[in-house]
């Protein structure tokens, strides 16, 4: 049987994590179909059909899908679920919201947030904020799985020519209404996919002081992250939070500034390739995961850091 991946998109573009989920799904079974539930999203359908790992695109086009509502998506997925051995999506706020609703109605015990496909029924997933790894085997006949996007490569997006099959919409819920979405537009790379991330914590002491972080981020073309403490304190908005209940990032370089390194924060960044910690408390737990630790006052160190970067002839982008 084939596997079914649910695409995340905004009717114009597919969201990048769908491409990581495609890689994971194709490791479960190569006969991978992608379901696109949207409104006037023909461009997205075409894009997905050109992803070489995708064997078929199921396209549901109806105005009720202009905004993503889990209840409506679930009804659409259930109409086609019987043909598939696995239903898969990314374990970000999109998939976390959607998949359990689908799984419950199929009477499946979902496997959340996998970081490795061991076999079509056995997966590796982090538990306890990544402080333990569990190898789990699903004994349900059909499986619902969400994928930690940063643990899988981005799929190639050109060269494929999958068939696009138009399928019917399902019923619309009357009990949930989309009101609005406040997206903060930024020219910076996205936190989840950036090559370099620089994050600030409580040590920044104020929202204004985050400018020290943004200046360095601009220089390095980095995304900006934050600890939960910094978000709770209102220094920066929620979509920047890295950690167990925020985003998981795996950049080539992660720079933690004024972050003590609570277990919950480490859960979101400790798989990064190179970790730098700048903190004036030499005993801070963040140093235990840092490749390079600098014990210093961030208010002195960050301007110096920028100055040193400015001296370099070239900076990798």
């Amino acid at each position: 049987m084939s596997v079914l991946l649910i695409a995340e998109h905004n009717n114009k573009e597919v969201k990048p994590f769908t491409l990581n989920a495609i890689t994971a799904a194709s490791q479960i079974d190569q006969d991978l179909h992608v379901m696109l539930i949207g409104s006037k999203a023909d461009d997205v359908a075409k894009f997905l059909s050109e992803v070489p790992l995708v064997k078929k695109v199921l396209h549901i086009d109806h105005e009720i899908y202009e905004n993503y509502i889990a209840e409506n998506y679930t009804a659409a997925i259930l109409k086609h679920a019987d043909k598939y051995s696995h239903i898969i999506c990314s374990a970000n706020t999109f998939g976390k919201n959607l998949m359990p609703r689908v799984a419950a109605l199929l009477d499946i015990s979902q496997v959340s947030d996998i970081i490795k496909v061991i076999s079509p029924d056995t997966f590796l997933r982090p538990i306890y904020a990544g402080n333990a790894f569990a190898t789990v085997k699903s004994n349900d006949e059909k499986k619902c799985v969400t994928i930690r996007p940063t643990s899988f490569e981005v799929a190639e997006t050109t060269g494929g020519s999958a068939e696009i099959e138009k399928i019917d919409a399902a019923d619309q819920t009357e009990n949930t209404k989309f009101i609005n979405r406040e997206e903060i537009k930024s020219d910076r790379p996205e936190l989840g996919t950036a090559r370099i991330v620089i994050s600030g914590g409580r040590g920044l002491q104020s929202g204004e002081n985050f400018k020290l972080i943004t200046d360095v981020a601009d220089k390095l073309n980095a995304a900006i992250g934050a600890s939960r403490a910094a978000v709770d304190a209102g220094y920066i908005t929620n979509e920047h939070q890295v950690g167990q209940t925020g985003k998981v990032v795996v950049p080539d370089l992660y720079i933690a500034v004024g972050i003590s390194g609570a277990i919950q924060h480490l859960a979101g960044m400790k798989e990064s390739k190179v970790i730098v910690a700048i903190n004036k408390d030499g005993e801070a737990p963040i140093f235990s995961v840092a490749d390079y630790g600098l014990e210093a006052d961030l208010f002195e160190a960050l301007p110096q850091f920028l100055e040193e970067l400015n001296k370099l002839n070239t900076i990798q982008k």
Binding site: I127, A134, T176, I275, F287, Y292, G293, E308, Q316
Partner: protein, 249 residues
């Protein structure tokens, strides 16, 4: 309006987890246990709604072993009116918990069910959505703001792109984010009072729900350790290392 709040007993968030050597799980003996943090936000929100006069009763429910009752007792100490403890031993998956909670909802007929968005032990993030599915109720997940209207809620949700606002008709399920509110501490007099509040005990087996796990835990192991890093003496040295040694800038 009646609000049911589901709470879970987990290893305290400050405890450094230790994996058992035989790969069967993590060490829980003599380890501090607490209420799952976002479940505290769920209770707090229910109490605030009751204090504003919009709710009449708060019921705290937990599913778990004998000691799970402590989390219900704590919820009673911060303002829940009565408790329900569904007793079940051993590992229980979100799917089974959601089926048990459905039975409790059918018995109690709440207008709202609140719970944390995810438990910090298994990190599944499933139970609320599954309960909503079983009941065919709307779901508002990852809530950071809740506005209670007559027959609906306006909920602001934390999503990857920022904030999203939806309106759901009641009855509804809300899963709570840590930023929804600041949970209060129980005062000593309220802890004493909570001891007199009733907790109904129900055996999961009496509810007719199959709680057998569908997922086998083959092995629990420690994640690969990072190799020890170094401390650099200056910003200059740091930049030089990043450029020439790590080659990341």
């Amino acid at each position: 309006m009646k609000i049911l709040v589901a709470v879970k007993r987990v290893i305290d968030y400050n405890v450094q987890i230790r994996v058992k050597e035989d790969g069967s799980g993590v060490v829980t003996d003599n380890v501090k246990m607490s209420t799952n943090p976002p479940d505290d936000n769920a209770i707090e929100e229910a109490v605030k709604i009751k204090e504003s006069g919009k709710a009449t009763e708060i019921i705290a429910v937990t599913v778990g072993e004998e000691k799970a009752q402590e989390t219900v007792r704590k919820a009673l100490a911060v303002g829940a009116d009565r408790g329900i403890h569904v007793k079940v031993d051993g590992n229980i998956e979100p799917l089974a918990v959601s089926k048990i909670l459905k039975k409790i909802v059918e018995k109690e007929n709440p207008d709202l069910v609140f719970m944390g968005k995810q438990a910090i032990d298994d990190d599944c993030n499933q139970t609320g959505q599954m309960l909503a599915a079983h009941l065919n109720w709307p779901q508002a997940t990852f809530a950071s703001k809740i506005e209670v209207n007559d027959k609906s809620l306006q909920v602001t949700r934390e999503v990857d792109e920022g904030l999203e606002t939806i309106e759901v008709n009641t009855p509804a399920i809300v899963t709570c984010d840590l930023r929804l509110n600041e949970p209060r501490y129980a005062s000593l007099p309220n802890i004493m009072k909570a001891k007199k509040k009733p907790i109904e005990q129900i055996n999961a087996s009496d509810l007719g729900v199959d709680t057998n796990p569908r997922i086998e835990h083959i092995k629990i192991e420690e994640p690969p350790k990072r190799k020890a890093g170094i401390k650099v003496a200056s910003v200059e040295e740091l930049v030089q290392k990043l450029k020439n040694e790590a080659k990341v800038i």
